[in-house]
């Protein structure tokens, strides 16, 4: 948490321009217009802003699902520019753990196999994958739900399986996109409590949210407005 640590996320002038249409009717949308942002190891950052502010785009770029049109981005000190699709996929697999609003569990896999899924792409042997997946599920308090299908779990439990799936990757960064958006308030509290616990364990967390009381639990709030960081970029 010391600011002199090397940042997990470092951005300089990151711009994202979407073009649609063709010829004279090309429409340019400037989703991000020069974002400067640093996030250090162990930080718990909430990414907030009205819809259209560019927070989804920024999250996708942080998570390497998208690349900047202009500007520089270092993830864990490594420049992202010029990496191939396969290289981006590998870094995603090793450094970024995603948690989605809609959970995105594969319906036909048990909790255990859902959690083990990212390790499949790491080429680990099956026994090792399942061992780590079991440990991750135990860490989120679902040690007794290993063989349940997603359809047999409550919303809060599903999201905990999804968090376990992110944790099993041992990522540099947990990237959560409205993780409580689909949950009732009790389950929301449960999930936010889990994120608090993970933060205490030293995990680096970036959470996209539009709910102020969710953002309030983070250590720092980065506010986006019109594709720029309005506050909290801390460069």
């Amino acid at each position: 948490m010391a600011p002199d640590n090397r940042p997990v996320v470092q951005m300089r002038g990151v711009t994202k321009i979407y073009r649609s249409g063709s010829g004279s009717r090309t429409v340019e949308v400037r989703a991000l217009a020069g974002v400067d942002l640093s996030i250090y190891p162990g930080e718990y950052v909430a990414l907030m802003g009205p819809s259209g502010s560019g927070k989804s785009t920024l999250m996708h770029i942080i998570g390497l699902l998208d690349t900047p049109t202009e500007g520089e981005y270092w993830l864990g000190g490594e420049p992202v520019r010029g990496l191939s699709e396969a290289q981006l996929a590998r870094i995603r697999n090793q450094r970024v753990g995603f948690v989605f609003q809609a959970f995105f569990l594969l319906p036909r896999l048990t909790a255990l196999h859902n959690v083990a899924l990212p390790l499949v792409y790491r080429g680990l042997p099956a026994a090792e994958r399942l061992k780590r997946a079991r440990a991750a599920l135990e860490a989120v308090g679902l040690g007794d739900r290993l063989d349940h299908l997603p359809s047999e779990l409550s919303g809060g439990q599903k999201q905990r399986v999804a968090i376990a799936r992110a944790l099993v990757q041992e990522p540099d960064l947990l990237l959560a996109d409205e993780p409580t958006g689909n949950l009732d308030s009790r389950s929301s509290d449960e999930i936010l409590g889990l994120f608090d616990a993970l933060h205490r364990q030293g995990k680096t967390i970036v959470m996209v949210t539009h709910e102020p009381d969710v953002g309030a639990r983070a250590q720092r709030i980065v506010r986006l407005r019109d594709g720029r960081v309005a506050e909290g970029g801390m460069v």
Binding site: E85, A89, R90, Q94, L117, P118
Partner: protein, 403 residues
């Protein structure tokens, strides 16, 4: 990530959608079933034809006047001196006469029957003729032109329905009304197999000499047809050529038709091959249709699983890993279909060998099975390429947003 993992994933995903997977691979099942059954049936038919032909005709050469020249038996007969010349060849020479006669089925109703002149002791000359009852008339009886007869199985039933034929007297009439009374001394076994139908004619075998003496049309010393029953070890092609040379030197080219059972077999074999190719092409079409079915279902599957693809990419799957996953899924689908098709074909072939007498041996070559499976895997690969490419090309952000 190892390929085995991909196969396991493919099975899981296909198993999760059992009904749809089954319907999707039905086309392949039918296609592979048809191709495999067709190839094997062709091989079984060839084996059956060869066996049957051997049983009915042995290894023989047939000599007869060529009808294409617009002649009939009387204008280009086979003469006694030709027979003598043929006897130098390594074969039993069986000169024969054909004529037709009638018998009284009921008082006032006459029916045609074939009258065939042969030398005596025919079963010894041509072992494909087997006696069921009685005996064949002897060489002495034949030379003497005695009024004795051996009946084909069918002739015995026609002439003496429900009665023992041996020892009876058969009354026949030539077309001009001349009467012929023959003592029946034997009955032949019915010919078996596919060609049973050909040999099942109602035929009355009598000495050649008798026909010469009684028929209004036959001339002494002239034959209609000669069978050369090859001795063991004689080369059919070589003897055929020698016989051809004998007739060509005497009468010129093209007057006589000389063919061996082996050349019939070759003809039959090439007919089977053509049929096989034709039916195989049709079966191949059903494989094509099956492949398009697979492509269709894979495209649906890719669309349906857009979010899964997005998630897998977010978790670190590369495009090529996604492509591999869907390609393997398509190949597994068609391979399972191919296996089912081969099993079904084997079942059908077993039933056919058990029930159809013509198909005596069950033939399913490992090469045929391998070919069927290889083709089904290739169909999966070919028709899986496009759906897999579409899956691989999905943008993870779009895919995760997909509802």
């Amino acid at each position: 990530m190892n390929p085995l993992e991909n196969f396991r994933m493919a099975f899981e995903s296909l198993w999760g959608n059992k009904l749809r997977s089954f319907l999707a691979l039905l086309g392949i099942v039918i296609g592979v079933f048809a191709v495999t059954a067709m190839i094997s049936l062709g091989q079984m038919a060839t084996a059956g034809i060869t066996q049957d032909l051997e049983a009915i005709a042995g290894r023989s050469i047939f000599v007869q006047p060529n009808f294409n020249e617009g002649q009939d038996f009387s204008t280009a007969p086979i003469r006694e001196e030709d027979i003598l010349a043929l006897q130098t060849l390594p074969a039993a020479v069986i000169p024969q006469l054909f004529t037709s006669a009638q018998y009284e089925a009921r008082p006032g109703t006459r029916r045609s029957i074939q009258l065939q002149g042969t030398p005596g002791d025919l079963p010894r000359l041509d072992p494909t003729n087997k006696l069921a009852k009685g005996r064949y008339f002897s060489e002495a009886e034949a030379r003497g032109g005695l009024a004795v007869a051996v009946l084909s199985d069918r002739a015995a039933r026609d002439l003496f329905p429900g009665r023992e034929a041996v020892g009876q007297v058969a009354r026949l009439f030539y077309p001009n009304g001349a009467r012929l009374e023959l003592t029946v001394v034997g009955v032949l076994q019915p010919p078996g197999g596919l060609f049973g139908g050909l040999g099942a004619a109602a035929t009355v075998y009598v000495p050649n000499e008798l026909i010469w003496n009684t028929s209004p049309t036959a001339r002494k010393g002239q034959y209609d047809f000669v069978v050369l029953s090859l001795k063991k070890g004689a080369d059919a092609r070589q003897v055929t050529r020698q016989a051809q040379r004998i007739f060509e030197s005497r009468y010129g080219k093209g007057k006589y038709q000389i063919a061996s059972t082996e050349s019939f077999q070759d003809t039959l074999r090439s007919i089977t091959l053509i049929l096989q190719a034709l039916l195989g092409a049709i079966a191949g079409l059903s494989l094509l249709v099956g492949g398009i079915g697979i492509m269709n279902i894979m495209l649906v599957s890719v669309t349906e699983r857009t979010r899964e693809i997005g998630l897998r990419k977010a978790l670190g799957a590369t495009s090529s890993q996604i492509r591999q996953q869907f390609l393997i899924e398509a190949v597994v689908l068609t391979l399972v279909g191919g296996l089912l098709g081969v099993v079904l074909a084997a079942g059908l072939l077993l039933v056919i060998t058990a029930t159809v007498p013509f198909f005596k041996v069950f033939i399913l070559n490992p090469a045929t099975v391998l070919l069927a499976l290889a083709v089904s895997a290739l169909v999966g690969l070919f028709f899986g390429v496009w759906p897999a490419a579409r899956a691989a090309a999905l943008d993870p952000i779009e895919a995760l947003r997909y509802e």
